[in-house]
Amino acid sequence: MAQTHPDPVLQATDVTKRFGGVVAVNGMSLAVHRGEILGLIGPNGAGKTTMFDLLAGSVAVSSGSIRLNGVEVAGSPAHRRIAQGLGRTFQIPRPFAGLTLVENLLIARQHQTGERLWPNFAAWRRIAAEERAARDKARGLLDLVRLSHLAGEPASVLSGGQRKLLELARLLMADPQVILLDEPAAGVNPSLLEVIIDRIRAINAGGVTFLLIEHNIDMVTRLCHRVIVMAQGARLAEGTAAEVARDPRVIEAYLGGAG
């Protein structure tokens, strides 16, 4: 696969994270190629979510390099990532529960004049025009994830699966190049799961790259072009979903072998 995608949009090299004496991620490297859907799987406690937090900048690396579009980002704060092209969802979705669905999406729009204090008293027209454009885009994205009938409702009314769809739509407001999805299938009912899989495919076809953590192996098999297996903070195996599923090391890691 690496030969057919010579263009890593996100690349982690030899990344390590220690929490006191615990090494959660230990010299992990991975490259996400532009346009692919890459799966990151592994048993519980393998360090997948910590790896996500490192890539997203919400946890600082102990050592190692993270490059986004070739630019080193390991030292830059989390709130810069989205403007640099990287968005992430959370294992347990984090909608702004008291805000409406449309407002949830509007928050994610980047470079809004009206988010700075003074222009709100000086540049009314420009802000109003930007708001109209952003609202149109938000409505379109709510359509995309089949939530437009709830556009004016607070996000607290959504079910778990709908919250995942809302998070996805919210990220798309920011036009990211890479999206990190943390367990998109967890706790989602089967019919909504089909919608989520279908929407991820559609968004990927539109040019967005995905890296996803997932335990639902059926979903991984159906979605991911390539899979990386993590165990005990390091990379254990790599290949297609079918290949890694046959790998004896992977089977042992999942069954809790002597490691």
């Binding site: 989205i82 529960a97 928050i107 919210r170």
Partner: protein
Amino acid sequence: MIDLLGYAAFFLSTALIFAIITLGLNLQWGQTGLFNVGVAGFVAIGAYTSALLTTPETAGRLGGFGLPILAGWVAAMAVTALVAGITGYVTLRLKADYLAISTFGVAVVTQLVALNARGLTGGPFGVAFIPRPFGALADRPALFNFTSCGVVLAVTVLTYLALEHLTRSPWGRVLRALREDERAAVSLGKSARSYRIQAFAVGGAVMGLAGAVQAHLIGFIAPDNYVPTLTFQVWAMLMAGGSGSNRGAVAGALVVWAVWVGAGALSAALVPQAFQARAAALQIVVIGVMLCVILLWRPQGFFGPRRRRTPGGG
């Protein structure tokens, strides 16, 4: 009759000044979730800033620069915004009760400085001869009270409109997003640090403005105006009116101030002379009981949006 109306105007002026302070707190707590228990300190800084700049020259104290009242008010907002912004910056890592304790400390320090830095603040004797808007009318008390009330009303309306505009703006939306879920907002590109400092500064500026307006309404300020009771009153006003709503902040201020004044008048009328000083504490009790009743009967306050929240959700 005209005296009674004059008193009503004075009552309304005082209540509206509380409304302005409460509007400032609503931006910090109601919108952003910042647990600021140092309200009295920021009000004091605004009051003293404007007083020092606008009073005539006084022996033994800095200032008395004799500047116009409006200049004093603008400076009060600027200085309080700066101090509040710095407070926000140094408390960036603190949440909920820890933030509350720190801001409370800022207010206590401010009050102690006002009490002891005689060369700057006049110490326990305070600052007198603060020019009053339309002070030329002072020998006709009723008319003077009406014009003062008009000035305070105008400031309240302007503050309300400005804050309402900000609340509905994309800027205000980011504050609410940070209140709802800071981590998610950061992942969407919002700098929690920057907005937190801004909310502190803007809310502080509003409180400082209220302090300045009050100083010029009375014409005299002293350190014991800015004790924690003031902070308690303002919090009670925001809780009663409905945290998160600017309308609620104003309504809460009017109602709680009416109850406060009413309880004071009642205890003055009913309690024997010898116990009057102690009976004054009953005012706080009455407000506390009222707050309990409101929280049981209508936890979101008069105008607050319906949602479950407790201090500590920071």
